[in-house]
Symmetry: C2
Subunit: 347 residues, 2 copies
DNA sequence: TTGTAGGCGTTATCAC
DNA sequence: GTGATAACGCCTACAA
């Protein structure tokens, strides 16, 4: 079958006793070639195990059918689901997905540079978790088709798909204050510069004000979205947090689960002595005991829509920027202590 | 800055009043270039916003610095961790990672074909969960450097990194039969053709025989590795499974967690009335109540080592095939009912 | 319907 | 040190 030395279109042409262009036609516009010749060429292709060279092809066509997906991290189900959705949609549209993630020291800004530097990508979908100046700058000067996930960039000329975090977080906060009767709310977020944390904290402050609840600065914590860290913090603080009408708003389900586990381990009953809610509705929310009240974020959909937008722009570079806003959904379960609220079936 | 029309190396050369070759030399820093000319060229590059065309470059160099990672699925932490490890290692070695996964109808075999068809990949790391004839065939005739994950392919000429599943599963089975005193063991695996399930089932049978325990055909189930499916099955069967010395060996942690949850919901105490163990030691294992006894599979490491092997082969195509076997590790927690066994600290 | 020839943007091999 | 020039493998007018 496949010889070990690279076989080119010229080899096929010779073997089929036709010209190079005819082989090319067979490869691309099959209809424009005589039936008999086509069969002969196809036979030669098979015999030689010929595979068109994608570099040469790309050099002419100026496209690789590859798009990049740049994520701030790869840890946990949140990103995993985005990848899953993006991958499925990319395949659907005939693209391959090139994955990359900020890691350790080097931030997204450096990666953005690298991605457009000597790259074969037709475009990039990028999720930024912090909007530093350098990142804004990198986005603004980006040379490839671009789609921004999750972050709101003011006056951005790029396509973007965002979650209406504010709305979801407000709904959650109203639920716990109105339905579950929380009066003291501990906020446990990610890093202070994280865009998601910022949006959720804003909602926290807004509803606190709405309900005339005092803002206690010491009740706002900034961690890193990880289970373990939240567990450790809660293990230390949970007794001081506990009390009637007290609850924790964790900025994601992982941290919420860690807090529930730490509370339970410390003998603090959830939700009776300390209620807890999370965010994202990853699978861990249902597996926690009690199951977490949370806000469902359509992660896979977000990935899929971003890829879709990106591919549309690649196909039609001049179209006006589109912004897709995905609505999150309040998922009321038992960890918040609201009486008998079951908005949907639970596993 | 960057003009909108593609600027080539020729433009840079003209602007810097040098030849194309000199620009190329500046770019690749191989040979010495006069300091003054170098500066002039670099200035021109900046002024024009020149980025070398990766296709043309690849056409000459015959490499893209991209490697593929082909997974059977993208669902859940298992694959997510493999991706994470692979991505980190790829970056480390200067490669980009192109992700792909079998989805719905089209199996890995079709994907393998597609990947080498018109692709710019320097090599592919592939994880196969079923060793059908078509897949074996696709692997055997693969034209690119290849590294196989997880599956044992007899007499394979390829590099591979595998987990010694058998050994891990045997250790687990011995633990539950000897330390925890199980005498009836329900096995809940993935699909019958799944390579992991096969290995774990073999260990199950082996230790059953070792311990002179009867094999009850009705006690072997084949599901799909999902939490929900396992929950549903257990919800229905858990009362008939319960009993002193009875336990469930689930082939992954997700299913084990589902079974624990279903048992708890049905009022069957874990591990007193029904013990449960899982496999993989994903994070869910620690979060389950009681925490799961399981076998730790170094998923991220598996991904990283596969990429490493692959890149070594790309660099040195003629080297003899390497096979890396990673050892799993028994993690004894509380769900198995063994008395006071704590091999390691728990979160 | 098929062939010829030019070009895509690099790198590599020579000369100078 | 630097500059022509020939590959690399493919696509696509244009000609036949």
């Amino acid at each position: 079958m496949a010889g070990s030395m690279p076989v080119s279109i010229a080899d096929v042409a010779k073997k089929a006793r036709v010209s190079i262009s005819t082989v090319s036609r067979v490869l691309n516009r099959r209809q424009l070639v005589n039936e008999k010749t086509r069969v002969r060429v196809e036979q030669a292709i098979r015999d030689l195990g010929y595979r068109p060279n994608a570099f040469a092809r790309g050099l002419m066509l100026r496209r690789s059918e590859m798009i990049g997906l740049l994520l701030p991290d790869l840890h946990g189900e949140f990103y995993s689901e985005i990848i899953r959705g993006a991958n499925a949609q990319a395949r659907e549209l005939g693209y391959n997905l090139v994955l990359s993630s900020a890691r350790d020291g080097d931030d997204s800004h450096a990666l953005l540079r690298a991605m457009q530097q000597r790259t074969l990508l037709d475009g990039v979908a990028v999720m930024v978790s912090e909007l530093t100046d350098r990142i804004q700058e990198a986005l603004a000067g980006f040379a490839l088709p671009l789609c921004v996930l999750d972050a709101e960039v003011d006056g951005s000329p790029h396509d973007s798909v965002v979650i209406d975090q504010r709305q979801g977080a407000v709904a959650l906060m109203r639920h716990v204050t109105q339905r579950a009767g929380w009066r003291r709310i501990i906020f446990v977020g990610g890093h202070e510069t994280n865009v998601d944390t910022i949006a959720r904290l804003e909602a926290y402050l807004q509803v606190l004000a709405e309900r005339d609840l005092p803002l206690v600065p010491g009740d706002v914590y900034h961690l890193d979205y990880q289970y373990d860290t939240a567990y450790a913090l809660a293990a230390e603080r949970v007794r001081s947090w506990a009390g009637p009408g007290h609850g924790v708003f964790a900025a994601n389900d992982e941290m919420a689960a860690g807090i529930v586990a730490a509370a339970t381990a410390a003998g603090v009953a959830v939700p009776q002595e300390l209620a807890v809610v999370g965010f994202d509705d990853t699978r861990i929310a249902r597996m926690t005991r009690p199951p977490l009240t949370t806000v469902r974020v359509p992660m896979a959909k977000m990935g899929a829509r971003a890829v879709e937008l990106l591919c549309q722009r690649i196909a039609e570079p001049q179209r006006p920027p589109t912004r897709i806003s995905l609505q999150p959904e309040l998922i009321a379960r038992e960890s918040c202590g609201a009486p008998g609220v079951r908005l949907r079936a639970q596993a």
